[in-house]
Symmetry: C2
Subunit: 175 residues, 2 copies
DNA sequence: TAAGATTGAGTGTTCAATCTTT
DNA sequence: AAAGATTGAACACTCAATCTTA
Protein backbone atom coordinates (compact mmCIF):
# COMPACT_ATOMS: atom_id res chain seq x y z
CA UNK A 1 0.00 0.00 0.00
CA UNK A 2 2.55 2.49 1.04
CA UNK A 3 4.38 3.09 -2.14
CA UNK A 4 6.19 5.92 -0.48
CA UNK A 5 9.87 5.30 -0.86
CA UNK A 6 10.75 5.11 2.77
CA UNK A 7 14.51 4.94 2.74
CA UNK A 8 15.96 4.19 6.10
CA UNK A 9 17.29 7.52 7.30
CA UNK A 10 21.04 7.80 7.27
CA UNK A 11 21.72 9.35 10.64
CA UNK A 12 24.92 11.23 11.28
CA UNK A 13 28.00 9.40 12.50
CA UNK A 14 28.67 9.91 16.20
CA UNK A 15 31.58 12.18 15.35
CA UNK A 16 29.52 14.20 12.94
CA UNK A 17 26.72 14.40 15.44
CA UNK A 18 29.01 15.73 18.12
CA UNK A 19 30.56 18.17 15.69
CA UNK A 20 27.18 19.47 14.62
CA UNK A 21 26.04 20.07 18.18
CA UNK A 22 29.33 21.76 18.97
CA UNK A 23 28.99 23.95 15.92
CA UNK A 24 25.45 25.00 16.80
CA UNK A 25 26.53 25.76 20.31
CA UNK A 26 29.49 27.82 19.21
CA UNK A 27 27.61 29.94 16.70
CA UNK A 28 24.76 30.64 19.11
CA UNK A 29 27.00 31.56 22.01
CA UNK A 30 29.62 33.48 20.09
CA UNK A 31 26.98 35.51 18.37
CA UNK A 32 25.15 36.24 21.60
CA UNK A 33 28.35 37.17 23.37
CA UNK A 34 29.57 39.51 20.65
CA UNK A 35 26.19 41.18 20.52
CA UNK A 36 26.15 41.64 24.27
CA UNK A 37 29.59 43.22 24.34
CA UNK A 38 28.86 45.47 21.39
CA UNK A 39 25.66 46.64 23.05
CA UNK A 40 27.37 47.29 26.36
CA UNK A 41 30.41 49.03 24.93
CA UNK A 42 28.95 50.97 22.05
CA UNK A 43 25.19 50.87 22.40
CA UNK A 44 24.59 49.28 19.01
CA UNK A 45 23.91 45.79 17.69
CA UNK A 46 26.11 43.72 15.41
CA UNK A 47 23.63 44.43 12.64
CA UNK A 48 23.97 48.17 13.17
CA UNK A 49 27.71 47.79 13.22
CA UNK A 50 27.79 45.81 9.98
CA UNK A 51 25.89 48.53 8.19
CA UNK A 52 28.09 51.26 9.61
CA UNK A 53 31.25 49.41 8.64
CA UNK A 54 30.14 49.07 5.04
CA UNK A 55 29.25 52.73 4.82
CA UNK A 56 32.45 53.87 6.46
CA UNK A 57 34.48 51.92 3.95
CA UNK A 58 33.00 53.92 1.08
CA UNK A 59 33.77 57.44 -0.08
CA UNK A 60 31.68 59.99 1.74
CA UNK A 61 30.07 57.19 3.73
CA UNK A 62 27.56 57.01 0.93
CA UNK A 63 26.05 53.98 -0.77
CA UNK A 64 23.09 52.93 -2.84
CA UNK A 65 20.66 50.81 -0.84
CA UNK A 66 20.86 47.82 -3.15
CA UNK A 67 24.63 47.99 -3.24
CA UNK A 68 24.62 47.92 0.54
CA UNK A 69 22.19 45.01 0.62
CA UNK A 70 24.42 43.01 -1.68
CA UNK A 71 27.55 43.87 0.27
CA UNK A 72 25.89 42.61 3.43
CA UNK A 73 24.18 39.65 1.80
CA UNK A 74 20.87 40.84 3.26
CA UNK A 75 17.38 40.93 1.86
CA UNK A 76 16.35 44.39 0.83
CA UNK A 77 13.38 44.53 3.17
CA UNK A 78 15.52 43.58 6.10
CA UNK A 79 17.92 46.34 5.22
CA UNK A 80 15.12 48.83 4.77
CA UNK A 81 13.74 48.13 8.24
CA UNK A 82 17.23 48.26 9.67
CA UNK A 83 17.88 51.63 8.03
CA UNK A 84 14.64 52.98 9.43
CA UNK A 85 15.68 52.12 12.96
CA UNK A 86 19.14 53.51 12.42
CA UNK A 87 17.78 56.69 10.89
CA UNK A 88 15.57 57.26 13.91
CA UNK A 89 18.61 56.96 16.12
CA UNK A 90 20.57 59.35 13.95
CA UNK A 91 23.19 56.90 12.70
CA UNK A 92 22.37 57.23 9.03
CA UNK A 93 20.42 59.47 6.70
CA UNK A 94 18.77 58.87 3.37
CA UNK A 95 19.02 61.01 0.28
CA UNK A 96 17.65 60.76 -3.22
CA UNK A 97 19.54 59.56 -6.22
CA UNK A 98 19.37 61.97 -9.10
CA UNK A 99 20.66 59.67 -11.81
CA UNK A 100 18.03 57.05 -11.07
CA UNK A 101 15.02 58.43 -9.25
CA UNK A 102 13.89 54.98 -8.18
CA UNK A 103 16.98 54.59 -6.09
CA UNK A 104 18.15 56.04 -2.83
CA UNK A 105 21.40 56.71 -1.07
CA UNK A 106 22.23 55.93 2.50
CA UNK A 107 24.67 58.27 4.16
CA UNK A 108 26.62 57.94 7.35
CA UNK A 109 25.98 60.79 9.78
CA UNK A 110 28.68 62.35 11.90
CA UNK A 111 27.27 60.46 14.82
CA UNK A 112 27.31 57.24 12.85
CA UNK A 113 30.92 57.74 11.93
CA UNK A 114 31.95 58.47 15.48
CA UNK A 115 30.08 55.43 16.68
CA UNK A 116 31.62 53.00 14.25
CA UNK A 117 35.10 54.37 14.77
CA UNK A 118 34.83 53.85 18.48
CA UNK A 119 33.12 50.48 18.20
CA UNK A 120 35.47 48.89 15.69
CA UNK A 121 38.60 48.45 17.80
CA UNK A 122 36.61 47.08 20.69
CA UNK A 123 34.80 44.67 18.46
CA UNK A 124 38.05 43.48 16.96
CA UNK A 125 39.30 42.90 20.47
CA UNK A 126 36.28 40.74 21.22
CA UNK A 127 36.63 38.72 18.05
CA UNK A 128 40.29 38.25 18.75
CA UNK A 129 39.67 37.25 22.34
CA UNK A 130 37.03 34.65 21.62
CA UNK A 131 38.35 33.34 18.36
CA UNK A 132 41.70 34.20 16.89
CA UNK A 133 43.67 34.26 20.11
CA UNK A 134 42.46 30.69 20.61
CA UNK A 135 43.27 29.29 17.21
CA UNK A 136 46.46 28.18 15.52
CA UNK A 137 47.15 29.40 12.00
CA UNK A 138 46.23 25.93 10.78
CA UNK A 139 42.88 26.14 12.50
CA UNK A 140 42.22 29.54 11.01
CA UNK A 141 43.02 28.17 7.58
CA UNK A 142 40.80 25.16 8.16
CA UNK A 143 37.88 27.30 9.30
CA UNK A 144 38.30 29.56 6.32
CA UNK A 145 38.26 26.63 3.92
CA UNK A 146 35.23 25.06 5.53
CA UNK A 147 33.32 28.31 5.53
CA UNK A 148 34.04 29.00 1.88
CA UNK A 149 33.07 25.49 0.89
CA UNK A 150 29.72 25.63 2.62
CA UNK A 151 28.91 29.16 1.52
CA UNK A 152 29.88 28.38 -2.04
CA UNK A 153 27.59 25.39 -2.13
CA UNK A 154 24.61 27.29 -0.79
CA UNK A 155 25.21 30.23 -3.12
CA UNK A 156 25.42 27.86 -6.05
CA UNK A 157 22.13 26.17 -5.21
CA UNK A 158 20.34 29.39 -4.41
CA UNK A 159 20.37 30.81 -7.91
CA UNK A 160 17.26 32.90 -7.63
CA UNK A 161 15.20 31.03 -5.10
CA UNK A 162 15.21 28.03 -2.83
CA UNK A 163 14.79 24.52 -4.18
CA UNK A 164 18.34 23.33 -3.85
CA UNK A 165 19.50 21.09 -6.61
CA UNK A 166 19.44 17.57 -5.30
CA UNK A 167 22.36 15.84 -6.85
CA UNK A 168 21.54 12.47 -5.41
CA UNK A 169 23.92 12.96 -2.57
CA UNK A 170 26.70 11.12 -4.31
CA UNK A 171 30.34 11.49 -3.38
CA UNK A 172 30.81 13.53 -6.51
CA UNK A 173 30.99 17.02 -5.12
CA UNK A 174 31.65 20.20 -6.93
CA UNK A 175 34.90 20.79 -5.17
CA UNK B 1 46.53 64.48 29.29
CA UNK B 2 47.33 60.95 28.44
CA UNK B 3 44.91 59.58 30.93
CA UNK B 4 43.00 57.99 28.13
CA UNK B 5 44.86 54.84 27.32
CA UNK B 6 44.56 55.05 23.60
CA UNK B 7 46.33 51.94 22.46
CA UNK B 8 46.62 51.71 18.73
CA UNK B 9 44.05 49.13 17.74
CA UNK B 10 45.43 45.78 16.74
CA UNK B 11 43.46 45.02 13.61
CA UNK B 12 43.06 41.50 12.37
CA UNK B 13 45.62 40.00 10.03
CA UNK B 14 44.41 39.83 6.42
CA UNK B 15 44.01 36.07 6.76
CA UNK B 16 42.06 36.40 9.98
CA UNK B 17 39.92 39.10 8.50
CA UNK B 18 39.08 36.95 5.50
CA UNK B 19 38.38 33.99 7.76
CA UNK B 20 36.07 36.04 9.95
CA UNK B 21 34.05 37.33 7.03
CA UNK B 22 33.84 33.83 5.59
CA UNK B 23 32.69 32.50 8.94
CA UNK B 24 29.98 35.13 9.30
CA UNK B 25 28.82 34.43 5.80
CA UNK B 26 28.66 30.70 6.35
CA UNK B 27 26.74 30.84 9.60
CA UNK B 28 24.21 33.31 8.24
CA UNK B 29 23.60 31.43 5.04
CA UNK B 30 23.64 27.93 6.43
CA UNK B 31 21.22 28.89 9.14
CA UNK B 32 18.89 30.62 6.71
CA UNK B 33 19.00 27.73 4.29
CA UNK B 34 18.30 25.08 6.90
CA UNK B 35 15.41 27.11 8.24
CA UNK B 36 13.98 27.54 4.77
CA UNK B 37 14.12 23.83 4.00
CA UNK B 38 12.67 22.85 7.36
CA UNK B 39 9.81 25.27 6.85
CA UNK B 40 9.11 24.03 3.34
CA UNK B 41 9.38 20.35 4.12
CA UNK B 42 7.85 20.15 7.57
CA UNK B 43 6.16 23.46 8.25
CA UNK B 44 8.18 24.21 11.37
CA UNK B 45 11.22 26.31 12.24
CA UNK B 46 14.57 25.06 13.47
CA UNK B 47 13.62 26.39 16.90
CA UNK B 48 10.43 24.34 16.91
CA UNK B 49 12.38 21.34 15.78
CA UNK B 50 15.00 21.70 18.51
CA UNK B 51 12.31 21.71 21.15
CA UNK B 52 10.55 18.72 19.63
CA UNK B 53 13.77 16.74 19.40
CA UNK B 54 14.55 17.28 23.07
CA UNK B 55 11.09 16.21 24.13
CA UNK B 56 11.05 13.18 21.86
CA UNK B 57 14.28 11.97 23.41
CA UNK B 58 12.69 11.83 26.86
CA UNK B 59 10.34 9.26 28.31
CA UNK B 60 6.73 10.08 27.55
CA UNK B 61 7.91 13.15 25.63
CA UNK B 62 7.73 14.95 28.95
CA UNK B 63 10.14 17.45 30.49
CA UNK B 64 10.28 20.18 33.07
CA UNK B 65 10.52 23.62 31.50
CA UNK B 66 13.80 24.53 33.15
CA UNK B 67 15.32 21.20 32.24
CA UNK B 68 14.34 21.87 28.66
CA UNK B 69 15.76 25.38 28.78
CA UNK B 70 19.07 24.06 30.01
CA UNK B 71 19.19 21.28 27.45
CA UNK B 72 18.67 23.84 24.71
CA UNK B 73 20.89 26.49 26.26
CA UNK B 74 18.05 28.99 25.95
CA UNK B 75 16.82 31.72 28.24
CA UNK B 76 13.67 30.76 30.04
CA UNK B 77 11.60 33.60 28.65
CA UNK B 78 12.57 32.72 25.14
CA UNK B 79 11.50 29.15 25.76
CA UNK B 80 8.27 30.24 27.35
CA UNK B 81 7.29 32.32 24.33
CA UNK B 82 8.34 29.52 22.05
CA UNK B 83 6.20 27.03 23.97
CA UNK B 84 3.22 29.37 23.74
CA UNK B 85 3.45 29.47 19.99
CA UNK B 86 3.93 25.74 19.78
CA UNK B 87 1.03 25.09 22.09
CA UNK B 88 -1.26 27.19 19.92
CA UNK B 89 -0.24 25.10 16.95
CA UNK B 90 -0.84 21.90 18.86
CA UNK B 91 2.74 20.64 18.92
CA UNK B 92 3.09 20.59 22.70
CA UNK B 93 0.93 20.79 25.81
CA UNK B 94 1.61 21.95 29.34
CA UNK B 95 0.74 20.21 32.54
CA UNK B 96 1.29 20.96 36.19
CA UNK B 97 3.98 19.44 38.31
CA UNK B 98 2.61 17.95 41.50
CA UNK B 99 5.88 17.54 43.35
CA UNK B 100 6.78 21.20 42.92
CA UNK B 101 3.82 23.41 42.23
CA UNK B 102 6.00 26.22 40.98
CA UNK B 103 7.12 24.08 38.11
CA UNK B 104 5.48 22.90 34.92
CA UNK B 105 5.85 20.07 32.47
CA UNK B 106 5.89 20.30 28.73
CA UNK B 107 4.50 17.33 26.88
CA UNK B 108 4.80 16.33 23.26
CA UNK B 109 1.42 15.87 21.57
CA UNK B 110 0.73 13.12 19.06
CA UNK B 111 0.94 15.74 16.37
CA UNK B 112 4.23 16.97 17.73
CA UNK B 113 5.66 13.49 17.69
CA UNK B 114 4.54 12.83 14.16
CA UNK B 115 5.99 16.13 13.05
CA UNK B 116 9.41 15.61 14.56
CA UNK B 117 9.65 12.06 13.33
CA UNK B 118 8.97 13.12 9.81
CA UNK B 119 11.17 16.21 10.00
CA UNK B 120 14.26 14.60 11.50
CA UNK B 121 15.45 12.48 8.56
CA UNK B 122 14.93 15.33 6.14
CA UNK B 123 16.80 17.70 8.35
CA UNK B 124 19.68 15.28 8.69
CA UNK B 125 19.76 15.06 4.93
CA UNK B 126 20.05 18.84 4.70
CA UNK B 127 22.82 19.01 7.25
CA UNK B 128 24.64 16.25 5.50
CA UNK B 129 24.22 17.85 2.10
CA UNK B 130 25.47 21.28 3.10
CA UNK B 131 28.09 20.28 5.61
CA UNK B 132 29.25 16.74 6.16
CA UNK B 133 29.15 15.59 2.57
CA UNK B 134 31.50 18.46 1.84
CA UNK B 135 34.01 17.91 4.60
CA UNK B 136 36.85 15.46 5.08
CA UNK B 137 37.13 13.67 8.43
CA UNK B 138 40.02 15.97 9.26
CA UNK B 139 37.88 19.01 8.62
CA UNK B 140 35.12 17.64 10.80
CA UNK B 141 37.60 17.05 13.57
CA UNK B 142 39.03 20.53 13.16
CA UNK B 143 35.61 22.16 13.25
CA UNK B 144 34.71 20.19 16.33
CA UNK B 145 37.87 21.25 18.13
CA UNK B 146 37.43 24.88 17.19
CA UNK B 147 33.82 24.91 18.29
CA UNK B 148 34.58 23.34 21.64
CA UNK B 149 37.42 25.74 22.27
CA UNK B 150 35.33 28.81 21.60
CA UNK B 151 32.27 27.58 23.46
CA UNK B 152 34.34 26.52 26.42
CA UNK B 153 35.93 29.94 26.65
CA UNK B 154 32.63 31.78 26.54
CA UNK B 155 31.05 29.43 29.08
CA UNK B 156 33.99 29.95 31.38
CA UNK B 157 33.75 33.71 31.21
CA UNK B 158 30.01 33.72 31.58
CA UNK B 159 30.18 33.05 35.30
CA UNK B 160 28.41 36.23 36.30
CA UNK B 161 26.31 36.43 33.21
CA UNK B 162 23.45 34.73 31.47
CA UNK B 163 21.75 31.52 32.32
CA UNK B 164 23.17 28.10 32.13
CA UNK B 165 26.22 26.88 30.42
CA UNK B 166 25.07 23.41 29.75
CA UNK B 167 26.67 20.62 27.90
CA UNK B 168 27.02 16.98 28.47
CA UNK B 169 24.03 16.62 26.18
CA UNK B 170 22.49 13.23 25.72
CA UNK B 171 24.85 10.60 24.47
CA UNK B 172 22.29 9.00 22.27
CA UNK B 173 20.45 11.57 20.24
CA UNK B 174 19.77 12.39 16.69
CA UNK B 175 20.63 16.02 16.55
C1' DT C 1 6.83 45.04 -17.40
C1' DA C 2 10.82 45.19 -14.49
C1' DA C 3 13.97 47.46 -11.06
C1' DG C 4 14.73 49.95 -6.74
C1' DA C 5 12.97 50.51 -2.59
C1' DT C 6 9.47 50.77 1.32
C1' DT C 7 5.58 48.97 4.14
C1' DG C 8 2.70 45.82 7.03
C1' DA C 9 1.70 41.56 9.13
C1' DG C 10 3.37 37.65 11.31
C1' DT C 11 6.92 35.50 13.79
C1' DG C 12 11.04 35.23 16.68
C1' DT C 13 14.22 37.14 20.57
C1' DT C 14 15.60 39.93 24.62
C1' DC C 15 15.11 42.42 28.85
C1' DA C 16 12.89 43.64 32.89
C1' DA C 17 8.88 43.07 35.64
C1' DT C 18 5.61 39.95 37.60
C1' DC C 19 3.32 36.04 39.83
C1' DT C 20 3.27 31.78 42.58
C1' DT C 21 5.30 28.45 45.49
C1' DT C 22 9.22 27.02 48.33
C1' DA D 1 14.10 35.93 49.90
C1' DA D 2 14.95 32.56 46.10
C1' DA D 3 13.37 29.33 42.48
C1' DG D 4 10.27 28.13 38.61
C1' DA D 5 7.88 30.03 35.24
C1' DT D 6 5.06 33.57 32.56
C1' DT D 7 4.10 38.18 30.58
C1' DG D 8 4.57 42.67 28.01
C1' DA D 9 7.11 45.87 25.51
C1' DA D 10 10.66 46.81 22.38
C1' DC D 11 13.40 45.24 18.93
C1' DA D 12 14.74 42.17 14.82
C1' DC D 13 13.76 39.26 10.59
C1' DT D 14 10.87 37.24 6.65
C1' DC D 15 7.46 37.13 3.29
C1' DA D 16 4.25 39.14 0.33
C1' DA D 17 2.19 43.30 -1.23
C1' DT D 18 2.86 47.94 -2.67
C1' DC D 19 4.56 52.25 -4.61
C1' DT D 20 7.35 54.89 -7.87
C1' DT D 21 10.23 55.46 -11.75
C1' DA D 22 12.67 53.32 -15.90
Amino acid sequence: MEDVVETAPRWLEPGEQACWRAYLDMTAKLNAQLNREMQEQSGISIADFSVLVQLSEHVDGRMRVLELARALGWEKSRLSHQLNRMQVRGLVERSNCNEDRRGAFVVLTEDGRRTVESAAPQHVESVRRYLFDQLSPEQVAALDTIARTVTGLIDAGCAGRAEPCDDGGGPESRL
